[in-house]
């Protein structure tokens, strides 16, 4: 699917764990394995919103692990169980992937 997301409302905080499927190939590995640094590709931006409100915003580098995992939290005020969290990543080559999960 590209992204696995779990969002849980606990008290006044929503806790999220998200995993993206991506090789996160660094420039060094691209050069070593393919002969060209131009083949490097990794997620450069990853964000999340609930009903259009940004709840997560990360600018990322080649140094997140392969199939990167991130945990984050945001204040639950204004959100409730059943609300849909939509996350999107963009990579160096311009590919975009969106995933979503309901807050439980």
């Amino acid at each position: 699917m590209g992204m696995r997301i779990k969002a849980k409302l606990k008290g006044d905080v929503v806790k999220v764990k998200a995993m993206a499927k991506h090789p996160m190939m660094t420039y060094d590995i691209a050069e070593k394995k393919t002969g060209s640094r131009d083949n490097a590709n990794f997620i450069t931006h990853w964000d999340g919103n609930v009903n259009g409100k940004v709840v997560f915003d990360a600018s990322t580098s080649q140094f997140l692990s392969k199939n990167p995992i991130v945990k984050y939290e945001f204040k639950a005020a204004g959100f409730k169980k059943g609300d849909k969290l939509v996350m999107t990543w963009v990579d160096l080559k311009g590919k975009k992937k969106t995933g979503h999960a309901k807050i439980k």
Binding site: D47, L64, P68, Y72, K75, A77
Partner: protein, 152 residues
């Protein structure tokens, strides 16, 4: 502040142009491109926040990793900050470039994150927060890496 632009990859500019403007999410790659090519922690911090570690207080920020990471390709890092901040960044001093990830903050985000990162060898990670009060706060953790991780 002199901006030396090392970026030669048009692909980075193309990638940032694809981000949906409707989300109104910040994008540190567009805002501070030099931060992503900086080789040292101080150069990355200068590009991101206009300050260096010497200007920062080693307080209010916690960063945790294992003392010995068995796999340098996936070092677990927990970072948190207990002051209101605008931005929360993770850097290290062993990879070809220093900046790993920058979490932009707004009125609902909480500066508390966990990620897994690559570390080429033993060294230090730094979690740095730009406080709403304009100060920089940081926490540092030095660790051993058993098997270097930039090689995949």
């Amino acid at each position: 502040m002199q901006r030396r632009n090392f970026l030669t990859l048009g692909a980075v500019a193309a990638a940032t142009a694809v981000v949906a403007p409707a989300l109104q999410a910040a994008d540190e790659r567009k805002a501070h491109p030099d931060a992503w090519t900086a080789k040292t922690v101080d150069d990355a911090l200068k590009a991101l926040y206009g300050k260096t570690l010497a200007d920062a207080k080693e307080a209010n920020v916690t960063v945790k990793t294992p003392d010995v990471a068995s796999n340098g390709g996936a070092v677990p890092v927990d970072m948190s900050c207990d002051v209101e901040c605008e931005s929360f960044a993770l850097l290290q001093d062993v990879n070809p470039e220093s900046c790993v990830v920058v979490f932009d903050q707004n009125d609902v985000t909480i500066p508390k994150n966990s990620v897994k990162i690559k570390m080429k060898k033993s060294g230090s990670v730094y979690a740095v927060a730009k406080g709403k009060d304009g100060n920089l706060y940081y926490g540092k953790k030095t660790l051993e890496v058993a098997l270097g991780g930039c090689e995949g």
